[in-house]
Amino acid sequence: MANDVTLTIDGTQLTVPAGTLIVDAAREIGIDIPVFCYHPKMEPVGMCRMCLVEVGRPVIDRTSGQPVVDDAGNPSLQFGPKLETACTTPVSQGMVVIGMSDKVKGARNDVLEFLLTSHPLDCPICDKGGECPLQNLTMGFGKGTSRFDFDDKKHNDKHVPLGDLIYLDRERCIQCGRCVRFQKDIADDPVIGFYQRGRNMEIITNSEPGFDSIFSGNTSDICPVGALTTADFRFGARPWELKSATSICNHCPVGCNLTYNTRREAKSGGKIVIKRAMPRQNEAVNEIWLCDKGRFGYHFTESAERLLTPLIRQDGELVPSSWEDAIDLAAWKLRPHGLNFVALANGRLSNEDLYTLKELSDNLHGNACLYSSMAGGDLAAQVGFTSPDGLSKIGKGTTILVAAADLHEEAPIWWLQVKNAVKRGAKLIVLNARATRLDKFAAAIIRYRYGREADSILSLIKGAENAGESGRMIAEADDLLVIYGSDGLGLSGSKQVSSACAELLVKSGKLGRPGTGLLAVWQHANDQGAWDIGFRPVEDMGKVIAAADGIYIAGADPAGDNPVYAAALKAARFIIVQEQFLTATAELADIVFPVQTIIERDGTYTNGMRRVQRFMPVLEKPSGPRPDYLVTAQVRQRVVHSNLESVSASQGFMIMAAHLKDYQGLTYAKLMETIPQHPIMGRSDLYYGGTAYDNRQGLGVQLSNAAARHEQLRLVEADTMENELPDLEHMEELLAVPVRVLYDSGTITKSSRLLEKRIHTPFICLHPKTAEQKEMASGDRVMIQVNKTDYLVTVKLDDSVPTLHVLVPNSLGIPMEKPILVKVHR
């Protein structure tokens, strides 16, 4: 390529694209130039001076413009009088870099001597000890002695909680600014900063509550010393004592790659427990980042209230039973011909579980329902986004449309990646009825009235009258990425939005390119997988439940979420529940099967981008619970006298892959394949990218779709009929619309003692004018009446909320599946 330059580093010649920094170029040929402040995901600053190298450039004859050659015919080189920082110097043609001369070694020696003047000898108790860049580089390049006066050592505070999740040790900080830069440039939460100067410089937090960011945990990963440690892992164990296990975060549809570190612990009664969650590099999914919910939200695994034996109802009471009896009873009850069977599954189940349940449902000619209020999984399977790099490489030439989604709360890592794509040159259009945190980065913001989402999207189509600036941005882009969520939508609204998004994509004429497509911000980790397998959400779930003769609920808790469903369940004839805990739904069941959590078993998830990823067992299996797929398969075996096919997850997956077109040819072995990722991270050189783990357990497989294969699409025409909107002006009621918050009170978040403080108390959001009209002020405790039940909530004011509307976060105890009229009163 014309833009490539050839240079020599430590005697090895290599060719890299122009503009590459010396430090990155050196990594390509396996030469590690030590760094502290440089991080490949951030702009270089050249603060720590650790990466000093000798740089020689060819001498160019001024008259001819040709390189000057010496007598032997070699180009003559000119070395600068001083060393240069490899992290800020881009490569140039013919450059010669010397990274291991005595001069360079001397400089590194001196830099380390300075850094260590006030660094405490804390390594024995430091959480970073054993995986510490400063420790490693001191062993590699340090002198071993210091010329400084020992009495001059500065002693600072060692125990400074920056927030409730991150602790700062001021003595250990080497002021590289990685954390400050991460929060400012990558997370866009500049809540920490430098204070004072020189040797007095320290990191402080300027937010209330302290370190108020949902990405705070990442700073402890990239901190090159033990200055920032997490409250979770604080003094928990030494890094070398930990075992690693591969997993996938199941909190949201991003599907972040994780490594859980485990250890057998006396404190926990000799059980193996998870000590910390660390990111595993996957540039197509989460790069090397994790949100705090994923990092600290694994404590649900420690809950003592697990179900361990099957329960069956006898004389109105749930009593423990043997597996054999419970399975036989379930099969007996499901056997009658012509039974109205409903399978209700949560998108938190793995593909194997869902497929087995779908098979059972099909055998019984049942209705396979997905416990979700979002639509469009069939569209995502046809026109979905299939870029092999995920969102991490999107930049110039792409227009991103985010419709009806609050990405920051719904899928934090996608928010971060969309925002960084804008920084790289992508154009962003945000379409929402209210302000979200993405507005700041948008080239165009489109506001609509709740209920007019689909019309608003369709108006962007080329040729439409009011397409305007946004329409032009879409038309001129090479690629169009459309992300839609469920902000303010119920299932019918979601259907309209998803088909409008699909239509926009089709009409744009860009389909077929991997960077163009649809991306749904699902409510659960595996909703997309459930759609692919054939589960569909239903409009009036209460009715469907009440009409069922036999209902098989896996992983969902409708009774706990909504009193209407609880009443409907009481009307259902026979209920089988597969659960980890005795939920409100399980309490109403006739048979309860205890199941294993995802960290006790293996399986796969299909993330929102339709990347199939594998998770593996992390902890020992408790005796009693079985994996979901096995329970369902055993019931199915008795019902239809089939072979017991799904005795292992991998077998279950193979059967599924054989039957689903897009999954054909996939095996567990394929999901575990890896390719080299750039930037190169997670090797023994922790100083380069932080403590994110190298991904050796598989990057997953991105599914292809109909648009990518240029097949005929089967899309439904978008519903352009204008919804009838209530005339709120002349009504006493307000229109309540459901929104989602990151720290909700779902069973999984609730059991994390660290995140407990962050879970919102139930609240509603009003426009100040509406609040004034209702004589309410910010912070007031008021009642909201939903389906004739009153709920106590706190009022929050937000002037971006449309007047006469009230935003109600779901999963905080108030059942909200679609926009409804509610009364708000004192």
């Binding site: 804390d122 024995p124 000890g129 050592k153 060692k158 604080r234 003094f235 164990a237 030494r238 006396a266």
Partner: protein, 170 residues
């Protein structure tokens, strides 16, 4: 024949001679023999003069142990419930004496000189479980007038886990 008598007399002489020398046997266990200064017996977890434990739960002994005999688990502590100086202390400390080979590498690895292989060689157990010595057993007894751990101490005094570094030049 004469040779046989000679041999027998020689043996008897030996017995006679020994009867008048000081015996090398001692009345164990009432009486105990001094061990050499460099003897490596059972481990003892030492205390500072004020009664605080020297062990800070850093696990370096466990890392150095070639027989994997040591198990350490640490926790965070405060000035109100203080076991050792600094923020970290060993909440669990166990040595499995069926594994220990008394090599002394743990002693070398310890940054606070908390673990010392002392002169106790009297180790006996009836089962595998009792071969695992726990922290309360390994920890040195408190001497008067000091308090046992945990102690409630003056805030902000014991902030450093590892004793303040001395200038090697001095």
């Amino acid at each position: 024949m004469a040779n046989g008598v000679y041999e027998m007399m020689r043996g008897l002489w030996q017995t006679f001679k020994s009867a008048w020398t000081k015996p090398i046997t001692i009345q164990y266990p009432e009486e105990k023999r001094m061990v050499s200064k460099r003897f490596r017996g059972r481990h003892v977890l030492k205390r500072y003069n004020n009664g605080l434990e020297k062990c800070i739960g850093c696990s370096l002994c466990a890392a150095a142990c070639p027989a994997d005999a040591i198990f350490v688990e640490s926790s965070e502590q405060t000035d109100d419930i203080r076991f050792s100086p600094g923020e970290r202390y060993a909440s669990t400390y166990e040595i499995n004496y069926l594994r220990c080979i008394f090599c002394g590498l743990c002693e070398d690895a310890c940054p606070t000189e908390a673990i010392i292989l002392e002169d106790n060689y009297e180790l006996s157990f009836e089962n595998r479980e009792s071969a695992i010595y726990t922290k309360d057993f390994l920890l040195e007894a408190v001497t008067e007038p000091n308090q046992p751990t945990p102690q409630k101490v003056q805030p902000g005094v014991y902030t450093r886990s590892v004793p303040v570094m001395q200038d090697p030049g001095e």
